[in-house]
Amino acid sequence: MLSHKKRPAEVHCDQWVLVAPESVTDLPGKTENGPVFTRLHNPRTGEAALYLFDTNAQQLFEVKAFHEEFHSWFIGQTVQHDGRLLLVTPVDPLFMVLYYLIKAEKEQGKFQPLDQVVIDAEFPSCSMLLQCAKLRPFLHHVTEEKEIGNKKFYKYSKEKTLKWLNKKVGQTVRALKIGNVNVGARVSSATFVPGDHGSDVKEEDYICYAHGLISEYIPKELSADLAKYLKLPELSASLPEPPLKKRKVSDGPVEAEEDYTKFNRVDLKTKKTNSKMTAAQKALARVDKSGMRSISTFFGTKAKAGK
């Protein structure tokens, strides 16, 4: 048998193992237009990331890759080199639109109809966000509204947004408690054992952790404002920050352990040199690693706690 040493990125396959809500995959016989994958901006960085709209674009989902090094799949009677598990989870479309509202506020600073705010030549499918059922009824949480004639005009409101984000942090904290997520930044047991909280976990640890998770979906400036609003001690003290900063400076595959996006990064680097890349691989290569950060933050805790 031949020994076949290849770099992972060179072994391509247009095949993915994906886990998605049944609401997305349950497609009755009459459904002709199924869900669509598309590239949208990551609301924190503005870079491309992979998203999914369900049938008729009623709901938005993000696609995150869970990847551990040295893993491959047996699928039926086949082998798939790519050992990633893609997770499709819901995203509040308000985070996505907030990004454009803030941009419009900086550029024009006036009341505008939403379809003039959510326009992006780089990500044309952003207009599909406007179809999301959970968008328009909730816009008032982040904007001032004016109605002239039958048309509604919106303007970003930082004050209202911070209030809204505060509620988001609150509901995230509740979920962290229910889920028994170990949020203690300096808990000595580096392992995650469901139901096994460090008894010294403070409310502030939960808020810090939730702030870190929410920060994955808002621009950095707003994240800093939110930290102040929440009266968090120091932004750098919030748990998920260090891995993010670290990830930023080291762009190589060095961090493979906690970086679920390693393959994308590698693809990105080989993009120009590998002429045999398919369109799908190119699309994936363009897909942002940072779009997959929040999950790595979530799962990064274990390593962080071990420091």
């Binding site: 193992v17 609401s23 995959t25 598309t38 889920g179 995650f192 493979a256």
Partner: protein, 175 residues
């Protein structure tokens, strides 16, 4: 208190688990790259074909703790599945001289697994992916030891419920 770097090194110390490809030729069988120039009507959409999801059959999946440098057919039911035997903590199998310990992982409730493959026959202006298999559980294999409750996969699979909470609309109030 294993540091990041240590953990990395430990993982890096596993390359012996890399398995040579059974058929290198198949790994080379890339498709020709699609020209990006031909702009689709709605650019960048990849449609999941509903009929393929309805037609897809339950497929057994195994996540192996080693990297196999190959994509394509593998005689899993001939050489791998029959070698699985019950162990004290769960299924055990010997794979390329290494002992693997398995654990059945069930997907979070309300979630479904799909194996998707991109269908290139229709050209870049109409990109589609087909579901070629479904799953509601898979076997997670650990190298020399069972994955156990601390396996990072378990945390990964707890992400959907947390994500749902983060992204739920906030409760309205009367202010």
């Amino acid at each position: 208190m294993g540091s990041h770097a240590e953990r990395k090194r430990r993982d890096g110390a596993q390359p012996s688990a890399r398995v040579p490809s059974a058929s290198p030729a198949a790994a080379h069988a890339h498709r020709e790259s699609m020209p990006d120039g031909a702009a689709p009507a709605v650019p960048g959409l990849i449609r999941l074909q509903p009929s393929s999801v309805r037609a897809a059959a339950q497929t057994p999946l195994h996540l192996l703790p080693c990297e196999i440098q190959h994509n394509g057919p593998a005689a899993v039911s001939r050489f791998f599945s029959p070698a699985i035997r019950p162990g004290s903590s769960g299924p055990v199998v010997s794979f390329r001289g290494r002992s693997l310990h398995g654990e059945e992982v069930t997907l979070p409730s309300g979630y479904m697994g799909l194996v998707l493959r991109e269908d290139k026959s229709e050209g870049p202006e109409d990109r589609t992916v087909q579901a070629i298999g479904t799953f509601s559980c898979f076997t997670l294999w650990g190298l020399e030891a069972p994955p156990g409750p601390n396996a990072r996969m378990h945390r990964a699979l707890s992400w959907p419920s947390l994500a749902t909470a983060i992204h739920a609309p906030v409760a309205e109030e009367d202010d």
